[in-house]
């Protein structure tokens, strides 16, 4: 009985409780990433997975009696900034994709024989200016 109580108390210590929560968030994000098709939701799922990783890291750093590990906290700070950069870039890509194709879900990869491949080394594609201005005139054949 005492052993059981000890196990429960040990499990509920922040140093174990939060890593467990982080593992759950990681798995939850993975689940969402597979299940949801809208790209914005997929990006949210990846962010939730990332938060799970940070929770494990900070939880592990807070284990034990002494002050928490500053290296782990510095790594987490770095990780958060990396995550927001990747998210910002991913969102810009999604907006651009939606502008080109009209939907923000994953498209099939170019089927081998009919996908148009832009060749930026050729002159005639640039009659209308830079790559930016091509957005409205290009579309993927359905």
């Amino acid at each position: 009985m005492n052993g059981l109580l000890e196990t429960v108390a040990h499990t509920l210590a922040p140093g174990l409780l939060y890593p467990t929560g982080g593992a759950i968030l990681f798995a939850l994000g993975l689940y969402g990433l597979i299940r949801r098709h809208h790209l914005v939701l997929r990006i949210l799922a990846l962010n939730i997975m990332g938060s799970g990783v940070f929770m494990v890291l900070l939880g592990v750093a807070a284990r034990g009696e002494g002050p928490p590990d500053p290296v782990a906290q510095a790594l987490t700070l770095t990780g958060i900034v990396v995550a927001v950069s990747a998210t910002a870039f991913a969102l810009a890509l999604v907006v651009h994709l939606t502008r080109l194709t009209g939907h923000a879900v994953m498209l099939p990869g170019p089927p081998d024989d009919d996908a148009p491949v832009e060749d930026i080394s050729r002159e005639e594609h640039h009659a209308d200016g830079g790559p930016a201005d091509r957005a409205s005139s290009e579309d993927r054949p359905a």
Binding site: P14, L16, L17, Y18, P19, G21, A23, L25, A27, L28, G29, L30, Y31, G32, I34, R35, R36, H38, V40, L41, L44, A45, N47, I48, S51, F54, M55, V56, L58, A61, A62, G64, G66, P68, P70, V71, Q73, A74, L77, I80, V81, V82, V84, S85, A86, A88, F89, L91, A92, V94, V95, T101, G102, A104, V105, M106, L107, P108, A132, A142
Partner: protein
């Protein structure tokens, strides 16, 4: 008291997991984004419980604040693109999952959502279960706290996290700045920016508040930057606060974004990385090693790098919010 704290931890974690679940299960994108911002704020509370006030500050400012603003403006952009398409030419249908190469495409592409339930659930349960098992079997490691503590007196600053970020592991921090910059270069390479499709709010309230808030945000940003050398705070949190002020300014006049001149803007976004690199190379030449400082110079150099980094981060975050490159950049 301890029991109450455990109860608080449990409630907080249940809330975090529950909000994350509702966010991913939501069919309405706007709702999902709002839940995600809530998720970020709850995480900040968890970080406070884990004795990580720096991370809590960063999570609230960057994880919830800036990411939330980016997500909301993305939704607004998607909505206006869709509206434009609906009024213009016909909407091209989403990809057809059946067709000549259906089986082959199934290998490439996500299955329909209803068919992924069991595989996804099993996969997530297995990964989560294994992770939890591994974590529960871990012995307590000492970590690097004693090592950092022993070197604090030669680090040039009084706050251990700043010491790690800008002295002991400055290389990581330098690359982190580079990643923010690369994300912006990537977003800029996609095309020129368009006006932000926000509905301008008429009336004097928003401009009035901004007149009050932006100076306060600037002061707060500078304070957080300065505090970073001895207390929670630092370049990234300060950059996020200043960036948020910039985003507010952009939002207040969505129809008339300023024409940013190309050259100075490029210099501004790369100033943090450039200065950091210069200091690093100087360290190499002076014999302290790449990204090393002479002990006496550590504090002023760290502050110098942090100031440049804060400005670059703030500028880059605003530019990422505006997304495409400004017309001035092509000149």
């Amino acid at each position: 008291m301890n029991g109450l704290l455990v109860l608080f931890d449990l409630v907080l974690l249940a809330g975090i997991v529950g909000v994350a679940w509702r966010c991913l299960a939501s069919t309405d994108l706007f709702r999902a984004v709002v839940l995600f911002i809530t998720f970020g704020l709850l995480l900040a509370l968890a970080w406070v419980r884990l004795e990580a006030p720096d991370i809590a500050l960063a999570e609230a400012a960057i994880g919830a604040g800036i990411t939330g603003a980016l997500l909301l403006v993305t939704l607004e952009r998607l909505r206006s693109i869709m509206a434009e398409r609906r009024s213009g030419r016909p909407h091209s249908p989403p990809p057809d999952p059946t067709g000549p190469h259906a089986l082959l495409r199934a290998l490439h592409d996500p299955l329909p959502e209803h068919r992924t339930f069991l595989p996804a659930l099993t996969f997530a349960l297995v990964v989560g279960g294994l992770l939890v098992t591994a974590l529960w079997h871990q012995p307590q490691s000492v970590g690097l706290e004693p090592v950092v503590d022993a070197h604090m007196d030669v680090s040039g600053v009084d706050h251990p996290i700043t010491a790690v970020l800008l002295n002991f592991r400055a290389y990581d921090t330098f690359l982190e700045l580079a990643i923010v910059l690369i994300a912006l270069l990537g977003a800029w390479s996609l095309g020129r920016h368009d006006l932000i499709p926000a509905r301008p709010a008429p009336g004097p309230i928003l401009p009035g508040t901004l007149r009050l808030l932006v100076p306060v945000a600037v002061v707060t940003g500078v304070y957080v930057l300065w505090a970073g050398s001895h207390a929670p705070g630092g370049a990234f949190q300060a950059g996020a606060i200043l960036g948020a002020a910039g985003i507010l300014l952009v939002l207040a006049r969505p129809r008339q974004l300023p024409m940013a001149p190309g050259g100075p803007l490029r210099l501004g976004i790369s100033a943090g990385v450039a200065l950091f690199l210069l200091v690093g190379l100087y360290g190499l030449a002076a014999g302290h090693g790449f990204l090393g400082y002479a002990e006496a110079w550590a504090y002023p150099l760290i502050i110098l790098i942090e100031v440049a980094a804060t400005l670059s981060i703030a500028l880059t975050l605003v530019a990422l919010f505006v997304a495409g490159r400004p017309a001035g950049d092509d000149a």
